[in-house]
Subunit: 140 residues, 2 copies
């Protein structure tokens, strides 16, 4: 019985979606989440997407662009830089064999990309970094 790690101010739907994602080992698509929540009264994709929008906005859920899927943020509180979930860009390593996802953060990469942007007058809003390949276990 894992006690769900929900933030206080989430609505019922947001909490349900976040809990499903938190308990999942692998990333989940919006429709997979929907199916998991039918028993809780979910009927339509929008219910999921609206919750996901809010959760990603809060930074406690991430969207994996190359997978069209979502994961709960792996950072338990302010692990490194900013406070809470306000940290910078997060990167992901995605195993194409077992589906496992590792979330990490690299200051140096962040800075380099930031420098490039500054040099061009480009104002970054959201940065996606995803490495797809094989994890140690699957590459063996």
């Amino acid at each position: 019985m894992n006690a769900p790690v929900s933030s206080p101010s989430l609505t019922k739907n947001q909490t349900l979606v976040f809990d499903v994602l938190s308990r999942s080992e692998a990333p989940m698509s919006a429709y997979t989440i929907l199916d998991k929540l039918r028993d809780h009264g979910f009927r339509a994709p929008l219910q999921v997407y609206r919750a996901l929008d809010k959760l990603t906005e809060l930074g406690i859920v991430h969207r994996l662009e190359s997978l069209n899927a979502f994961v709960a943020c792996a950072h338990r509180e302010s692990t490194c830089c900013g406070a809470g979930h306000g940290h910078g860009t997060v990167a992901f390593a995605i195993c194409e064999s077992c589906g496992q996802v590792s979330e990490f953060h690299d200051h140096e990469v962040d800075h380099r990309l930031g420098d490039w942007a500054r040099g061009r007058g480009f104002r970054p809003a959201k940065t996606t970094i995803e490495i797809r390949g094989l994890c140690r276990g699957c590459a063996a």
Copy 2:
């Protein structure tokens, strides 16, 4: 009248798709490409997707994961590291206002991500780096 910059060994469909992408300022979705090629006999999405698969495999077209769209590679021949289009990871800055896309390459970022992967025994197959935001002109 721009002479298309097609590689020699492309099939007719691949050449058509590549030329459409090359001439486009902005990234294009597969369905947009399809519409542009109806006059050339294209009828179904698969004709486009199959060509795109080959072109991305050759490295002369890139897929923008956060946009579900495609662009012709901006590197005119071996601009920096490897020969031809065999270079490492490419990064993109995507303006959410005007749609303009800048392709660039950063060794340092590449190395950092490579180091992280090596340290974890992760074997990278394809890496996606996309910065979404506002370009100089649109941020003003």
